[in-house]
Symmetry: C2
Subunit: 153 residues, 2 copies
């Protein structure tokens, strides 16, 4: 388990990314990948709008920023929002050991599935993460549903 | 279902990508995303070596190359190799309707899971796809296991 006293600072990095994305006109989801000693390996945010790139969700952007690694078992992915199936698949395939989630109320992705497959899951119910997404979804629903592949919504 | 007469040409695009990746010193996996009328939307190849980017598997590269789309339900992802959990998660999250797979003998990813969730799956058992991966895994096992997140292998 991640030291509870470190969780706030780790989530803080992801929240900074989410806020930066919002300020750029993007979708306010941020993430960061940390190493076994709490060192920051990579950080990133959803880049659909900024780069016109639907493949860069926050978690994939943080994973990418960390570069090539040989072993993810002792790494921790911190994300402001429950990871979608795409990002949950990333976590499972690369064997990321733990996922810390800001909130899972506005979107419930694949984290239960990850828990079933042995990934350590912590959901923080962080009010700032929830506020960012609640306000964003209300303001830009078409962009949010595009980002999660729900064309009929 | 994809018209069987079109399958060869569609797989051919993915194989071209895989061969190009091999020629660059990369991992020989290619993919292409096609639209409802068989039009090519995006194509790509694994870019771990070429770009030092672990987030660019063949399927994610093809998805990225297609840019932002609102509806993937009638699209077809063609890939030389069974999609890993990361790429299977991509297919599920964005609702890609069909996946055509060159081969699933050298690696068996998440395509059974996708089939359970309503994705149309076609496995071609293509000998050229299998040869490319068999030779590559024998020649560069460390690179292959890095790409699928198996540190102990």
């Amino acid at each position: 388990m991640v030291d509870p006293t470190e969780l706030g600072a780790m989530l803080g990095v992801a929240v900074e990314e989410a806020r930066a994305g919002l300020a750029e006109g993007g979708i306010p989801i941020g993430a960061a990948l940390f190493g076994p000693d709490g060192e920051l390996l990579g950080r990133g945010r959803n880049r659909r709008v900024q780069d016109g790139d639907p493949s860069m969700h926050a978690e994939t952007a943080a994973f990418r920023a960390a570069g090539r690694l040989r072993d993810y078992r002792r790494t921790v992915m911190v994300t402001t929002l429950s990871p979608c199936w795409y990002c949950s698949g990333l976590v499972r395939q690369f064997g990321i050991g733990q996922v810390v989630i800001g909130e899972a109320r506005t979107f419930h992705g694949g984290h239960d599935w990850l828990a079933e497959h042995g990934v350590g899951i912590t959901v923080l119910d962080d009010p700032e993460c929830e506020r960012l997404m609640t306000e964003f979804i209300a303001a830009r629903p078409e962009l949010w549903f595009e980002d999660i592949g729900e064309p009929g919504a």
